[in-house]
Subunit: 171 residues, 2 copies
C-alpha cells in the first residue's frame, strides 16, 4: 500500500522546471501508452516461457496453435492476418511446428500459391494441456475477470483503430 504517490510519477506531471514553455510531460515514459504496452507484453510473454518450454513451444508457436484451434485448415495468409504476422515470420515458424509434429502444411492443388495449415492430432491434444495456462497466468497477474475484461475491450478498440489506419494511410 505504498503506491499512491510512490515510485511512479503522476500521470499529469508537467515538469516545467526548465526555462522554455515546452511541456515535456508527454515525453515521459510513465505517460507513454506504447511503452507500457511494450513492457507488459514482453513481461507477460516471459511468464509463458516456463509453461511452454516443456512442449518445445515459444509464445509465437502458441498463438499460432491458438488461432488454429479456433479455425483449422487456413492459409498462411489468413493466419498472418489473424495474428498480425507476415510470411517472413510465419514460414520458418510453421516449418518448425511441422517438424515438431503439431501441424501439417499442405499446398493447395487448386491454387498452388496457397499453403493450408492444419492441426495434427498432437496439435489438437495440446489444447487440453493449454487449458490450464490462462488460470495460472491470471493468478500470477492477480487479475479479476472483470478487470481483465475491461482492459481487453480497450485494447481491442485500439487494435481496430490501428487497422483502420493501416487500410487508409497509404499516403
Amino acid at each position: 500500500m505504498k503506491s499512491s504517490s510512490g515510485d511512479h510519477p503522476p500521470l499529469n506531471n508537467t515538469d516545467n522546471s526548465s526555462l522554455d514553455h515546452s511541456d515535456y510531460s508527454l515525453l515521459m515514459l510513465d505517460n507513454q501508452l506504447c511503452f507500457s504496452l511494450y513492457v507488459c507484453s514482453k513481461e507477460i510473454i516471459k511468464k509463458y516461457k516456463p509453461l511452454l518450454d516443456p512442449y518445445g513451444l515459444t509464445y509465437t508457436g502458441y498463438i499460432i496453435l491458438m488461432a488454429l484451434w479456433e479455425k483449422d485448415n487456413v492459409t498462411v495468409k489468413e493466419l498472418g492476418t489473424r495474428l498480425y504476422l507476415d510470411s517472413g515470420t510465419l514460414t520458418p515458424m510453421l516449418k518448425k511446428l511441422e517438424v515438431q509434429g503439431y501441424i501439417k502444411r499442405i499446398r493447395s492443388s487448386t491454387d498452388e500459391r496457397n499453403v493450408f495449415i492444419h492441426l495434427t492430432e498432437k496439435g489438437r491434444e495440446f489444447r487440453e494441456e493449454a487449458l490450464q495456462f490462462p488460470k495460472e497466468l491470471m493468478c500470477t497477474l492477480d487479475l479479476t475477470p472483470e478487470y481483465a475484461g475491461g482492459l481487453l475491450q480497450a485494447l481491442h478498440q485500439m487494435m481496430q483503430k490501428l487497422e483502420v489506419e493501416e487500410s487508409q494511410g497509404k499516403d
Copy 2:
C-alpha cells in the same frame, strides 16, 4: 460505426459445441490479454518508424533517450531497470547511440564496473523534435486524453504486479 457486434467475437464466447465439458473460451485469441498487448505494442511501435527513421533512431533508441531526458547520467544497470532491458540488449544499443552522437558512455573511475550514460547536446536537442511525436500518434490512434489515461493506469498496475512477481517468484 459497425463495431458493436462486428468482426470480433464476444468476450464471453463459450464455444462449448464440442462433446466434452471443457471451456475453451479462455484459449481464444480475442480473450487473451497478452495477445492484444503484444499486437498493440507491435503495431504502435510500427507507427513510430516513419517518425524516428529520419533521425536514424529505432523505438528502442527512442525510449533510451526518453529515460535519459528524465534522468541523465545513469548507469547501464539503472537504465536497464527503468526500461526492462538487460545488458545484452542495451550494450550494443548504447554503443550505436554513442556512434550516432546522441549519448556518451563513460566508465566510472571510482567503481570501474559502472558505465555512466549521459546525453550529448544532440541528444538533448532531439527532445525538442520529439515533442511533436505524442500528438501525432494520439491523433493516429484517435484517443482522448482521458481514455488513454485510464488505459495507462491499468497498464501501470499490471507492471507493478509483474514486478512484484519477479522479486518473489524465485521458486
